[in-house]
Symmetry: C2
Subunit: 407 residues, 2 copies
């Protein structure tokens, strides 16, 4: 699942692909024994920049407050993450734990606390076992290295596999690399619908510009996926740029800025797709493309409504090209459009046009749902804007995972 640019040799995937980043993932028993649950990602280079996108859930978890403050205040060079406990809805004590995690990691790394971001994912409403976190941080600092796979594992919850991506582009005559790692919905505890992503680059990038690249790409990637419609209080995407590539710092006006922006977006898009594909209980990745809309926001709203509809998701699982449910989800999305101008496709099979069922063989339409990647396309006759959203099917397994007791 690596976004490869054949022009440029890429040594490895993930958050340690860009120069100057090292990582570790260790087991410290936050919630369960015997699995990696504490990750550390660190840039050896000082003087970089960082940007962050945080959940819009009002119930913002404690680590997000601490990380938001850190990115706002200065240049974040490290992030420490635990899985198992989300440290959300934990009040003042939870906030103290998040600051504690930050201070412990900073002390071990020889940094100021404000240079360390923190993130948590797991069950809501439980307190972090700070003694274990402390031991884990010490182990992680000792284990820091080029291999990002331990970190990629440590941040997982009910995910069934790690999610890493990488892209490289030429910027001001230098090759810069963008790497990323993410976790999606998740195994140990059904409360773990958090998504976390950590994206790194060895490019030198002006801070405001970096935030712009992150926000734009987040809107078009992570904000376009859905597994179950439940937005977590712990969602976080952190982007760190350390300048190790030696390029002139990128600004909005740099000729190569668009290429850099696209590299960031390509990494995030790949991670977003992998999160959807690995949604709890999912057997299929569903890509929904909406074209011909008046504006991108409307196209995105329509695409997300389809990708998020329980009925559409169950139909995909059942390999039933039930296009009425697709049209129906568009109808209640809140976007205004003329249903008479809509064309709907399952894969290449046109199923609806001109306000009526389009003549087609239902078996042929159903067959487009047989694989593990499904494409549904809606073409509106309203304008030229388009958007893509990603989701997954709804399965009995999703219910089993999320109906089972928290232990």
């Amino acid at each position: 699942m690596v976004n490869k640019n054949p022009e440029i040799g890429i040594k490895r995937s993930g958050a340690t692909a860009p120069a100057g980043f090292s990582a570790a993932g260790v087991a410290c028993g936050v919630r369960y024994e015997g699995r990696r649950d504490l990750g550390l990602l660190f840039s050896k280079e000082a003087g970089g920049t960082a940007a962050v996108a945080l959940t819009t859930n009002l119930l913002r978890a404690a680590p997000l407050l601490v990380t938001g403050e850190a990115v706002e205040g200065g240049d974040v060079r490290a992030v420490v993450v635990n899985s198992g406990v989300a440290n959300a809805a934990t009040g003042q004590r939870g906030l103290e734990s998040a600051y504690g995690m930050q201070a412990l990691a900073a002390a071990e790394l020889g940094l100021e606390p404000g240079e360390v971001a923190v993130a948590s994912t797991g069950v809501i409403g439980e307190h972090l076992p700070m003694d274990r976190i402390e031991a884990g941080i010490k182990d992680a600092v000792a284990a820091l290295g080029d291999d990002g796979s331990g970190f990629a594992e440590a941040i997982l919850t009910t995910d069934t596999r790690t999610k890493e991506a990488v892209a490289a582009v030429e910027v001001g005559g230098k090759i810069v690399t963008v790497g990323g790692v993410a976790k999606g919905s998740g195994m140990i505890h059904p409360n773990m619908a958090t998504m976390l992503a950590f994206v790194t680059t060895d490019a030198a990038v002006d801070k405001e510009c970096l935030q712009g690249a992150l926000s734009g790409a987040t809107e078009r990637t992570f904000n376009r996926i859905t597994v179950d419609g439940d937005t977590s209080p712990n969602d976080m995407v952190l982007l760190m740029a350390n300048g190790a590539a030696g390029n002139e710092p990128l600004t909005q006006g740099s000729p190569d800025y668009p290429a850099f922006e696209e590299a960031v977006e390509a990494v995030m898009r790949e991670l977003a797709r992998e999160i959807s594909r690995d949604g709890e209980g999912a057997t299929k990745l569903v890509e929904v493309v909406v074209e011909g809309a008046t504006d991108e926001a409307s196209a995105a709203t329509l695409a997300r409504a389809i990708a998020g509809s329980n009925l559409c998701k169950a139909a995909v699982y059942g390999e039933d090209a039930n296009w009425g449910r697709v049209l129906n989800a568009m109808g209640y999305s809140g976007v205004s459009f003329d249903p008479g101008g809509v064309e709907l496709y399952f894969g290449p099979v046109k199923v609806f046009a001109k306000g009526e069922p389009a003549p087609h063989d239902p078996a042929e339409a159903n067959a487009t749902l047989a694989g593990d990647e499904v494409i549904v396309t809606a073409r509106l006759g309203e304008g030229t804007a388009s958007a893509t959203a990603w989701g997954c099917d709804l399965t009995e397994e999703y219910v089993r995972i999320n109906g089972s007791y928290r232990s």
Copy 2:
């Protein structure tokens, strides 16, 4: 499931409980053989009034256009309903079918077409078999009688049981009765499944006033239920008042109008609860009460967000008092509130208060989820407004039903 007023003798439940209404339900093979799938409800009295609430889904089905026109234009005395095919997304031919259904029923009943409402529920994107509908209408007219149970059956789709309710109140010295019948099951997130409800009364009621009673009650009953978040293009609540009770026509200013309004709401609330309880695959009715909000709309949004969350619904199914998911759904609902001022209860067990987990025995909280009716309460510290929403649990059976609905 009858709302009984012990002061007043009520002979039967459902839409034929008020004087002057008769009904029938027949099998005409719209989609499947051997089950009732065409219903007719008829008032012998002329000169009544009618009101209607229709789906907000942009993809409004053909019968809704026809019924909207009829209620707008005059006094509807009959409604003909089929199940099996929704007559939605069927273009010009679909509209002609809906008008055809209306005209056929009117001719058989000796009415003007504009006195007949039509409704459909079932698969989207298929055409009505008009020859079967025509035969069904003839059979239904011949079968009209006092017993509403055949009608209650004929309008069902994946519902597992019929839904009827009745209430009676004294109005201007006369006993007036309000009866109702509904179907629900899937695609239920009414914003005025398909949900259909037909409410009748023998009260004489001014038309504007009747529409006011219907709209207010719809907002507090059917607009507060959810099965799967999918708003159908066929949702319809029709209220017919035929004046057979002989009361002075009720207007907004009548001293007994509030009592009448409450009777209408009580019938609709009972039907709404029954729709939630019988949601596709559901094993439990979930009642979510939000108190202490700044205004009723905010309370309703919060209550619906909790009732609609897949993760909350799966937790209820698993009898896991996973209050973090409840708080989380409130957090992403879009309503602004102070999480530190929230108290959460499963049944009588307080699980969260003052921004932190409230000390409680998890087994005791889980035990409140063991029955077939579950109550979750959120108390905010913001104001005095409250609202109740109803939903159901999310089960493997929901996925099974919707993975194979068309086949």
